[in-house]
């Protein structure tokens, strides 16, 4: 099982620049952007930045939203092009899926470690010398290393498994079904938001208590759902 799956993992890692380095570049670009914005604000308001400005940075969840776009593309490319290559070279669908998922986990882990390293640098340098907050933010656990890793890992993995699910559904069932799946996901998302808003009175304290782990828990559920969806579709996908 491992031998055959490892082949697709090797295929996934054939271009390490894209699957390992680019997510880190994205994180780096986010940090740079935060520093530049802080400098611009500092020039206008003076250094050090005021507490209210710093609180505004800390409430930002830009880091979380910077990653999924590219990583979803990684997932889609793996589910479509790598799939065609793996089958051409003699893989089963099952082993392709397992090897690719292992690759996704590796990418997410590397990205999570990168985020932790950047967090360390951010704190070590007094927030990049200018009071810029990129990773020491509420959405990533306010400097908690485990939560930072957990959130970035989960967000990255959700993006890739969701991309893979859509890519595989497209391969298996075509554009119409993929569009319907997209619509269904959006509807489900809004239903979930409506339920959460409606029950915020009871959910709010729970989320506050869990902090960033609440996001990790939700992400873990999404990973299971999207990974299962991509596996099921992969079994019906053809070249």
């Amino acid at each position: 099982m491992i031998t055959y799956s490892r082949r697709s993992l090797r295929l996934y890692l054939a271009n390490r620049q894209d699957v390992l380095a680019v997510p880190l570049y994205t994180l780096g670009a986010l940090v740079l952007l935060s520093v530049l914005v802080s400098i611009v604000i500092g020039i206008a308001t003076g250094f050090p930045l005021s507490v209210s400005v710093q609180d505004g940075f800390r409430a930002s969840s830009g880091t979380i939203w910077a990653l999924p776009g590219f990583l979803a593309t990684v997932g889609i490319m793996a589910a479509t092009r790598n799939f065609a290559m793996a089958l051409a070279f003699g893989s089963t669908r099952r082993h392709f899926w397992l090897g690719t998922m292992a690759g996704f986990v590796l990418t997410a882990a590397v990205t999570g470690v990168g985020a932790v390293v950047a967090l360390g640098l951010e704190r070590l340098t007094g927030h990049w010398f200018v009071g810029a907050y990129a990773l020491d933010v509420a959405a990533l656990g306010n400097g908690n290393v485990a939560q930072t890793f957990g959130v970035v890992f989960v967000v990255a993995l959700v993006a890739m498994t969701a991309g893979a699910m859509f890519g595989t559904v497209y391969r298996a069932f075509g554009a119409k079904t993929t569009a319907l799946l997209g619509v269904a996901c959006v509807v489900l998302l809004f239903v979930a938001i409506a339920v959460i808003v409606g029950k915020w009175g009871s959910l709010g304290p729970l989320v506050d208590g869990w902090g960033a782990w609440a996001g990790v828990a939700v992400g873990a559920v999404l990973i299971v759902v999207t990974a299962a969806g991509s596996y099921a579709a992969c079994q019906r996908a053809s070249v």
């Binding site: 055959y4 490892r6 082949r7 090797r10 295929l11 054939a14 271009n15 620049q17 894209d18 490319m77 793996a78 479509t80 092009r81 790598n82 065609a84 290559m85 793996a86 089958l87 051409a88 070279f89 003699g90 893989s91 089963t92 669908r93 099952r94 082993h95 019906r236 053809s238 070249v239």
Partner: protein, 328 residues
Amino acid sequence: MTTPTAALPAGAALPGITLRGLTKNYGATEVLTDVTATLTPGRIYGLLGANGTGKTTLLACIAGHTFRTGGEILIDGQDPREHAPTLARLCFVHEDQAYNDAFSVADILAVMPAFHPDWDPDTATRLVRRFRIPRRTRSRKLSRGQRSALAITLALASGAAYTFLDEPYLGLDATARGIFYDELLAAYAASHEQAASGASAPRTFVMSTHLIDEAAELIEEVLVLEGGRIVLQADVDDARRTAFLARGFEADVLALAVGREVLSTRRLGGILTATIRGDLSVDDRRCATEARVSIEPTTLQELVAAIGQHGESDQPAPHYATESSPVQ
């Protein structure tokens, strides 16, 4: 070379590829119909037929790239569906193979040994050099000919026990096609040498092709697909002998064709050229000579074209470049 599947006892002769009643539908369209054939190992097969007759679909079904609608496929006695040890012995790079856009040729070549333990790096290096494939170029930037050359390189160097080549020469010039033919024969010969030493079973190559006469010298056995069915499976020489060309005045040719299946006809003025299935007795040949009907063997290309034309054609005669019209 790849080791035989574990499903068979050691030393047992490999049964090869067995197809029984294979069908494939795309919606209401039946692409393959009741395909039944056996491909014994260690041969070069030509999968021939007109466009749209199901050649690529048949290869895709065998390799598990698409799902059959019905029937049975066995590779060395094993249903290949999701059977890793069996599929690992296959290599089928499609004519329009999709590669990851971010991968360079070097990336693709680097990953092949992981999939094919019998990958031959020397063959790969030699083919890349002979075809002048740019190693650093990303797959999406390759020209049609370079894509074909890459597919040939991957297939031949893979060492896969069952290697499928889907229109492998598209976009290749005559020189590059010559390289391909040389290398295919070299890979074939090498696998037989290894098999003779008992190291492994010889490789089997299945090649779909339109350049039939050009590839005829390579192919040992042909499978001709027409309308999703295998209408002929035979050794190349036997296949050629299944039909003949008769050329002469229309009435004389048609008289000769009585009781035989006329695969195709072409007319130039009063002269008719017919491809007729069957054999001729000595008496038939004497009658033909007396009637001034010339009898010639068909080439493989002519035979396949005739089968595809269902007895009538608007195409120029094989030996005349001229107008034509149906006989009946």
